[in-house]
């Protein structure tokens, strides 16, 4: 203990009463009230998520019971005859999300690198703002542009691409249509790619920005070019951030409804030919729910439950990876 040269501490008098005063100051009640209100406000998140799960499962369950396992494994969707298999829609959702990421991930990483490593400091904010504008455009406007401008223009381009790759084994099949149409898996994937790019870009950009300058300088000091520095210092440091960015983009792609509903072609089929029309889980809900009753309505709500749990799982994984990498970044500083 340090030597205490100060006068003895004040006599053990009761601590001064708070200025609000009194044994039961008025502030005490408002303290309580605010605390209760705040915890209720936060707890509402838990309540809503639980309600989503409970209410939708209970409304979707009849369809699963009436269709059995076929609800998940059959690709026959025939409301007129009461047959509801969702596999074709699940297939469509998986395929267009995968293709969208195939385009969006390299583009997003490229843009994020351009912003953090290449662009002059004065330009960075403006580029970020413009890329964020992509996220501000409502999805129905993407859909309108897709159905009115993009889809009519694409068959010619698709045919051109197909003619080039036709002799190549796998690509010749994938880049084909049955027939080649503008409203197709590929068109939906292209629009999706555009919509998830700002999301993936902003998270990867934030991850890249946490790379310690010392590591970049070290790479440069070893004579690395910028690209070599990025591969040696930026990428290894950002791996988990990039993984969670891709996952969050995937979650967004799986749930995206309106733009996809307008450009995918509403054609329930499982095919390897991506230039043909297809359908996806959320777009079927959007297109059919209005007129649906009985088992069909229940089947559509069940598809909503599937989307909810798939996106929830992806979101949880992504957030866990992101939080862990953020904690590690804090620890390393």
């Amino acid at each position: 203990m340090a030597i205490d040269t100060r006068p003895a501490p004040a006599p053990a008098a009761p601590p001064p009463a708070p200025l609000a005063g009194g044994p039961n100051p008025p502030g005490r009640i408002s303290d309580r009230v605010l605390f209760v209100l705040a915890i209720v406000g936060g707890g509402l998140v838990l309540v809503i998520l639980a309600l989503i799960a409970v209410s939708m499962i209970s409304k979707g369950w009849p369809a699963v019971r009436s269709q059995g396992l076929d609800y998940f494994t059959s690709d026959v969707w025939d409301p007129a005859h009461g047959v509801f298999g969702t596999l074709a829609f699940t297939f469509g959702t998986v395929v267009i999300s995968a293709i969208a990421l195939l385009f969006a991930v390299p583009l997003s990483v490229g843009i994020a690198l351009f912003i953090t490593e290449v662009a002059p400091r004065s330009l960075r904010r403006h580029i970020i703002y413009v890329v964020d504008l992509l996220a501000a455009v409502p999805s129905v406007v993407y859909g309108l542009w897709g159905i009115a401008v993009l889809a009519p223009a694409l068959p010619g381009f698709y045919t051109y691409v197909h003619d080039i790759v036709a002799p190549i084994p796998v690509l010749g099949t994938v880049l084909d249509g049955d027939p080649i149409v503008g409203k197709s898996f590929m068109t939906a994937a292209l629009i999706l790619a555009l919509m998830v790019t700002p999301i993936i870009t902003s998270i990867t950009r934030e991850t890249f920005a946490t790379v310690p300058q010392s590591q970049k300088d070290a790479a440069y000091a070893l004579g690395a070019t910028r690209w070599e520095m990025i591969r040696a210092a930026v990428f290894p440091h950002s791996r988990s951030g990039m993984v969670s960015a891709v996952l969050l983009g995937l979650g967004r792609a799986i749930g995206e409804t309106i733009a996809v509903a307008l450009v995918i072609g509403s054609n329930a089929q499982i095919t390897a030919k991506m230039f043909s029309g297809g359908d996806a889980l959320p777009s079927v809900i959007a297109n059919e729910f209005g007129e649906a009753t009985g088992t069909q309505r229940s089947a559509l709500i069940g598809m909503g439950v599937m989307i909810f749990f798939i996106t929830l799982t992806i979101g949880i994984i992504a957030r866990t990876v992101l939080n862990r990498s953020a904690r590690r970044a804090e620890g390393s500083l």
Partner: protein
Amino acid sequence: MTTVATAPPARRSITSGSGSPRRRLTNAAATAGMFLSLLIVLVPLVLIIGYVIKKGLPIMSWQFLTEDIPLFSRATGPGMGPAIAGTLLITGAATVMAVPVGVLGGIYLSEYSRGSLFGRVIRFLAETMTGVPSIVMGLFVFTIYTLRFQKVNAFGGALALGCLMLPVIIRTTEEMLKLVPGDLRESSYALGGRKAATIVRVVLPAAASGIVSGVLLAVARAAGETAPLLFTIGIVNQTNWHLFSGANTALSVQIFSNAQSVFPGPQERAWGAALTLIVIVFLFTIAARLVSAFFTRRHASQ
């Protein structure tokens, strides 16, 4: 590679690389690739906004913004008033519901949870809830409100949009409150301020502009949503300012249904509605940026 570098090119910009031509070429190609990625994404953005302006402007007029939607859907000519009213009413009601609750939730996470397990769970769930697709929120509100009470009205849509906005507002509020320096809270305590008074009178005002900016962004996003409204608000051709009685409509829903039409009349209205919607959304986005720019400037000058 064939020639041995005799001396390192001293004092040259390190970023241009001092390596072999192949390494420099790879570097240049990578840089070009990064720039190209930006370009590839910007071209469609410019095209989309360009098309919306080009195709939306011809039909834009005072009549378009105020008149009823034609009863006969193939008809040409104006009328989007009811949809504009619906978008404003539904988004406004959603904001009124989500902001107080969201701000309170943010206050809990930032001021009360103190690393408690419940606080960590709520924060994690709020983050996860931001990723719940809007169509799921639409179906959710359909099952708990529209179906349960047999009511198709603006309030159902507002509930769905409010659920979408809530986690965003909670997270923004928490982040903004955390930026408020601890000194401020301690000064208030030293003056005898109790916790509630400190939060309401000192901490919240200090973070207000940041929270407002976050709320404006959430409003901008909600105003453009279609999927949560499809099954909850119904459809109507006349302006309905009633929150709880009667069906309603919104710009996004009108765009969605008119976009699928093959007739020129509804298509024109879809583009006009898209232009109106984009203007509304961008106005809120710009307002959010102005508020936060004001915030950072004031912050920097302190």
